[in-house]
């Protein structure tokens, strides 16, 4: 016997077990219908859960993309300021962020595929449950023991196979979602810790590359201002000012040395 035939038999025997347990086969129709409605509710919740996880991934992907863009512009700024060391650091971090981003994109595609499958399964099940309800009422109305036996048997194996399939699809989607949630939690922590970059931190939070770049920018601005001021002094004072500035610049240094 082939594998597909074996699997079909396994599904059928599950349905038969339910039928065998009941004294009156009609009871199984109502019982099964209740189970179908429960499963339908669960599947709809499952679809919503997968969608929530997918949206969470999308937010993380946006955050990581913002980080990568920021690191790229920091690298440009650093190179412009002649700070190759900072530029290299920014590019290295950007590569790490891009790696994470690529991982998330793969997961996102998987989750999206699960979501589509589960949505399809949920719609199919809805239609089948509606059809089952109609058939259930017809069978009950035209009930004669012998006739009902076959009709109920077929309806029950058919619907129980569908429920088994949907149940497995849901289990699978749940497993995937749980894996993703664990990983998503880890990435949220990484982002919060600033290990990836600080682009996602609250306003005012700054990262060390930006701090260095700002310092480099600020000190060159100060130098420019200073040179400008000196240029504005009358010619005679320029020499003195330069001397004073030098003493001032060395004095605080001397003080700190003494303090040490």
């Amino acid at each position: 016997m082939g594998m597909g035939q074996r699997l079909a038999l396994i599904f059928k025997s599950k349905a038969n077990k339910v039928l065998d347990r009941a004294e009156d086969p009609r009871e199984t129709l109502d019982y099964s219908y209740q189970k179908q409605l429960e499963l339908l509710t669960k599947v709809r919740r499952g679809v919503a859960d997968v969608a929530t996880s997918r949206k969470r991934l999308e937010i993380q992907m946006q955050q990581l993309q913002a980080s990568a863009d920021k690191l790229q512009s920091q690298a440009q700024q650093a190179v412009g300021a002649g700070r190759d060391d900072l530029g290299r650091e920014a590019l290295t971090r950007r590569a790490g962020v891009n790696q994470q981003l690529a991982d998330l994109q793969t997961q996102h595609a998987q989750l999206q595929a699960e979501e589509e499958k589960l949505t399809g399964a949920s719609q199919r099940l809805q239609t089948k449950v509606d059809a089952f309800r109609t058939r259930k009422e017809t069978i009950k109305a035209t009930y004669t023991a012998a006739e009902a036996q076959t009709k109920i048997g077929e309806a029950m194996s058919g619907i129980s196979e569908e429920m088994g399939d949907v149940g497995m699809a849901m289990q699978r989607a749940e497993d995937k979602t749980q894996q993703m949630q664990a990983r998503a939690g880890a990435i949220d922590e990484l982002i919060a810790s600033g290990a990836l970059d600080d682009a996602s931190q609250p306003l005012g939070g700054r990262d060390d590359i930006q701090a260095e770049l700002d310092r480099a920018g600020a000190s060159s601005d100060v130098e420019l201002e200073l040179a400008k001021l000196k240029g504005e002094l009358p010619a005679g004072q320029q020499q003195q000012a330069l001397g004073a500035a030098q003493t001032q610049a060395t004095e605080p240094q001397a003080q700190t040395e003494e303090q040490k």
């Binding site: 082939g2 079909a8 499958k117 199919r124």
Partner: protein
């Protein structure tokens, strides 16, 4: 003949295909028995393509059991083993 592909739904396959599909199904079974993952993957994908090619999707409001139930295309040998085991993955 009604065939179910798990996770996809049921298809109505012309009875004339029965022999060819059964041969592929037997290959699949022996791959499962001999734990031959690569034959398993290739037979499964051959079987599924054939079923999709010749089968017509069954209307959603039809409730009938299938004569063949096939695993999803990305199923692994281990997953199928579990399906085949008595108290496997199939919810009662």
């Amino acid at each position: 003949m009604i065939v179910r592909i798990l996770g996809e739904g049921q298809l109505d396959v012309p009875d004339g295909e029965l022999a060819a599909l059964n041969a592929l199904d037997d290959d699949l079974q022996s791959a499962v028995e001999s734990s031959d993952e690569s034959t398993f993957t290739s037979s499964l994908s051959a079987l599924l393509s054939r079923v999709r090619e010749v089968g017509r999707p069954l209307p959603d409001d039809e409730i009938v059991p299938s004569e063949l139930v096939l695993p999803a295309g990305d199923a692994t040998l281990a997953e199928v083993r579990e399906l085949l085991s008595d108290d496997g993955l199939i919810p009662g």
